[in-house]
């Protein structure tokens, strides 16, 4: 059976609420939890495959130029080396998310320092690693100075899709009683998923099977087919467990392409795992940004002008531009608007999606500027935000789907104990530490995508769900077992969820926070179909169905099935809802920080996030997504920055010792309020994305708290001690 649902209108049937199992939304533990905590969940590099060879990538030691010769003979003479592969099909950049086609190929042409140029294949990892560090090759590198590396001085283009202008911002800035015009910098970030990029490829002469750490097998299969020149039918991609993605595993990257090509050439299984340094250097990073925010407000604090401009960077030929202004399009009102996104073309590693592309750096900057404006007006910053929530999308005029910002600001302030009294800096001190608080709004556009899933009722009454959708830590295994359990009247442990295998129907992929809402809707559609046939078998109307714990209107479902399985392919697609509304998750962050008055060190002592993202599918895993976002907010605010060498553009701090992601001690107890309100226009399950919302603005709340604590107004993220000190000293 096939069931197809294209959603043109809000779905107010709330089908999940008609289920009788009572598991939807519950804080259930993950079904794969025991496998993960006992180390028995297999990640891509861990499959034990007989005769598997080890591949290690060789990377370019210069910014731009070409490889003129590789001394393969010398390499082959090294202990254990079986092949040196520099096949022109090998890729030199990761595919961007949803590309569904090969990225740049041809390892002989070099576009950035650290780009893969060849693969060494050897019997053991130790042999391959050594040979890769010692492969002799000749190259012509373009002269230092002739290669654009600095976004400020490089040629730039305007990203028209992200830019707009309405009214007269300059005039509003001239005439409004309160204005701010501020410039900010944010530094580059990396996803730094703890599992490095890894793939094992097997080739049987016709078919390529690849275990790879990927977020979106539904697109990745097309990328891999395009790279290798195979038909999709002859490619199978398996990503059952993915050790974190955060954007870095959206597209097929260099190691997967190299493993596949090597396996095909050598007719032996080949494993390629990138070193941490290679992951940092050759996988995409979040572009650094320069931003300008102009805000004009009337005497009551209502915005009359809103301007947000950004300069980001990427390699020539890349279509991706960090969408810094995404939330600025609709978050606050102001009739005179100007948004402008420019992209500089430089030769650093690929800029690509890192968790919450755009909002991750655009929102903290906007929210820091809002704090300056609140101070300038003399209004409470929560109040300022409440006053500027638009009725409709100020750019397109479209209505919003469920809009939770005001609720989040109010209920968040209440739960945090927000003091709306005077907000001069340096009112509170504990020994050497200034203490202060800050607030910021959260917003992350919500998207849904086409998705397919197969749901099967087995003869014994249990069920299974199959899709190539992945669970990268997001909770897909859990929520799909709950959705199917709710709809089919089964305890979730009776629903086997099988993910991450392209032999299953195409899901939406995990990215852009659209996974749960999209694949959940497809599972719902399949279950609805199954419920229809069950009703038919039971001789009742669908709406009279009462199924729970495997019993349908008093009769075991297994009896109704009569020894046969019942299976349906659910196919969900967003229709007009995607065009008729502006849909976003919203929220509010409240942070308390301590700033050392001698050293400028900052510690977050308390943080709360209040979020509204439609239906909560599993209160435990949803909360986990939110706290993960808060942790990233803290990293963005305080520690994370890529340091690019000015002479060749390489990432100097290309490891986890010097690229500082937060550690346990950086993170206090975190509070999360999930202010559930079903959003009928968001998806068929009334849910919106939550994977990224938790970091869309949070760093702004911390920046504002740093100012409130210490008087240090800083216009650069992250706010490391040096920057805090400088801003305090200027005071």
């Amino acid at each position: 059976m096939n069931a197809y649902f294209k959603q043109d209108e809000p779905d107010t049937r709330n089908l999940l609420d008609t289920g009788k199992q009572g598991v939807i939304g519950k804080a259930l533990s993950r079904p794969e939890g025991l496998a993960k905590v006992t180390g028995t969940a297999p990640y891509s590099a861990e499959y034990q495959i007989d005769g598997c060879l080890e591949g290690v990538l060789v990377t370019a030691p210069f910014a731009r130029g070409r490889i003129t010769a590789i001394d393969k003979k010398a390499a082959l003479a090294m202990d254990g080396v079986i092949a040196v592969i520099d096949d022109p099909r090998m890729t030199t950049r990761p595919a961007q998310g949803t590309a569904a086609a090969a990225p740049e190929q041809g390892p002989g042409e070099v576009d950035y320092f650290g780009q893969p140029i060849a693969l060494i294949v050897a019997e053991t990892f130790e042999q391959a690693r050594h040979a890769a560090k010692n492969l002799p090759f000749d190259y012509e590198a373009d002269e230092i100075g002739s290669v654009p590396l600095d976004p400020e001085s490089a040629p730039r283009e305007t990203d028209d899709g992200s830019s707009m202008s309405k009214g007269d911002l300059a005039h509003a800035m001239k005439t409004a009683p309160h204005t701010v015009d501020l410039r900010y910098r944010t530094h580059g970030h990396v996803s730094a998923a703890i599992e490095p990029h890894a793939a094992i490829a097997q080739w049987d002469g016709t078919k390529l099977t690849v275990h790879a750490a990927q977020q979106m097998p539904n697109y990745n299969i097309a990328e891999l087919a395009d790279i290798t020149g195979l038909d999709e039918e002859n490619v199978r991609l398996i990503s059952r467990y993915v050790g974190g993605g955060f954007g870095s595993k959206l597209g097929v990257a260099e190691e997967t392409a190299a493993a596949a090509i090597a396996a095909m050439q050598l007719s032996r299984p080949v494993r390629v795992v990138m070193s941490r340094q290679q992951v940092m250097q050759a996988i995409g990073h979040r572009s650094e940004s320069r931003q300008r925010v102009r805000l004009a407000a009337d005497s009551g604090g209502v915005l009359t002008g809103f301007g947000h401009e950004a300069l980001v960077a990427n390699l020539p030929g890349e279509s991706f531009a960090e969408p810094v202004l995404q939330s600025s399009q609709f978050l606050y009102g102001g009739d005179n608007r100007l948004l402008k996104l420019e992209i500089a073309r430089i030769h650093r590693s690929t800029a690509a999606s890192v968790r919450a592309p755009g909002e991750a750096v655009g929102m903290p900057v906007l929210e820091a500027a809002m704090d300056v404006l609140a101070e300038e007006i003399g209004i409470d910053p929560v109040e300022l935000r409440l006053k500027n929530i638009p009725e409709k999308d100020p750019d397109t005029g479209l209505p919003f789907t469920e809009h939770g910002l005001a609720r989040c600001l109010k209920e968040g302030a209440e739960a945090f104990g927000w003091d709306s009294g005077p907000r001069q800096p340096r009112l509170k001190r504990d020994g050497d530490w200034w203490i202060g608080t800050g607030v910021a709004s959260a917003a992350r556009v919500h998207n849904v995508a086409e998705a397919k899933a197969r749901v099967t009722l087995n003869p014994d009454g249990t069920a299974s769900v199959q899709t190539d959708m992945t669970d990268i830590g997001t909770g897909t295994y859990a929520i799909l077992s709950q959705i199917a359990g709710e709809m089919l009247g089964l305890p979730p442990e009776k629903v086997l969820v099988q993910l991450g295998d392209t032999d299953f129907p195409r899901g939406p992929g995990s990215g852009g926070s659209w996974g749960a809402a999209s694949i959940g809707s497809a599972v719902l559609v399949a279950c609805e179909e199954l419920r229809g046939s069950l009703a038919e078998k039971a001789g009742v109307n669908s709406d009279e169905l009462d199924i729970a714990d495997g019993m349908l209107n008093g009769q075991p479902v297994s009896d109704l099935l009569g020894g046969k399985e019942l299976s349906a392919l659910g196919h969900y697609e967003p229709g007009k809802i995607a065009d008729d509304y502006t849909s976003s998750g919203f929220g509010a962050f409240f942070a308390e920080v301590r700033v050392n008055r001698h050293t400028g060190e900052v510690r977050v002592s308390r943080m709360l996030g209040a979020f509204a993202f439609g239906r909560v599918l599993n209160a435990k895993t949803a909360r986990s997504q939110c706290i993960g976002g808060l942790v990233w907010s803290i990293g963005t605010a305080l520690t994370e920055a890529l340091l690019f060498d000015p002479n060749d553009g390489h990432i100097a701090n290309a490891d986890l010792a010097e690229y500082h992601v937060p550690v346990h001690r950086d993170i206090p107890a975190l509070d999360v309020l999930m202010l559930e309100k079903k959003d009928a226009a968001a998806s068929a399950i009334q849910a919106k994305g939550i994977g990224e919302l938790g970091m869309c603005g949070g760093a702004g709340a911390i920046a504002n708290a740093i100012y409130n604590a210490s008087g240090a107004r800083i216009f650069e993220f992250p706010m490391t001690p040096d920057k805090v000190l400088q801003a305090m000293e200027d005071n």
Binding site: S29, E32, G33, L34, A35, K36, V37, T38, G39, T40, A41, P42, Y43, E46, Q48, T124, F125, E126, H130, S191, A192, A193, I194, E195, P196, Y241, V242, G243, G244, G245, F246, V273, S275, R276, I472, G473, T474, G475, K620, T621, R623, S624, Q625, I627, G628, G629, L630, V631, W632, D655, L656, A657, V661, P662, V663, H664, R665, I667, A669, L670
Partner: protein, 170 residues
């Protein structure tokens, strides 16, 4: 002398370059111990050697003759998990699960360090009694990165079991 891993004896590799981590994963198929950085910068590879937690990526397997190694597989199994492993599941002390075996090995060894009365950077006094507070646990667990950001839940999971163990003892 051979190396003992989770009570099983194994011959050491011939190539002295093999790290303890790669020996576990590639040579004897114990893939529960994870490689996150291979340079002592993330803690995913944490195992317990002769009672002490270490980063197995920075240790040459050949130097472990006669040592007793406990890996995540030796701490508990899906059918017989440790209390801490169950507490991680209950508190959702992980998301992708990749850092998790390291976190659990680390926390398991940490319990003994507390029992020994060893201070940490977060201890107010170097010589007095050390209370098991979240701040103490956070400092002591800081060698285990979690990029998914499950930290707050990990601390809850650990505090729960540590407190339960303390209660059981008294």
């Amino acid at each position: 002398m051979p190396i003992t891993i989770n009570d099983q004896s194994h011959e050491l590799p011939d190539d002295p370059r093999v790290s303890l981590l790669d020996f576990l994963g590639t040579h004897i198929g114990l893939t529960g111990t994870k490689k996150g950085c291979d340079h002592g910068q993330c803690g995913a590879c944490t195992v317990i050697v002769n009672g002490m937690r270490i980063n197995s990526c920075l240790s040459l397997a050949a130097l472990h003759d006669g040592d007793h190694v406990t890996t995540i597989e030796g701490i508990g199994t899906p059918t017989d998990p440790s209390a801490l492993q169950l507490s991680f599941v209950e508190h959702d002390g992980f998301q992708c699960g990749y850092c998790t075996p390291g976190q659990i090995c680390s926390a398991t060894a940490m319990a003994d360090e507390f029992a020994n009365g060893w201070p940490s950077d977060a201890s107010d006094s170097l010589t007095g009694d050390i209370a098991i507070t979240p701040e103490e646990v956070r400092e002591r667990m800081s060698g285990n990165l979690c990029r998914c950001g499950a930290y707050a839940n990990i601390i809850d999971a650990i505090m729960d079991t540590v407190t339960a163990e303390k209660e059981a003892q008294s």
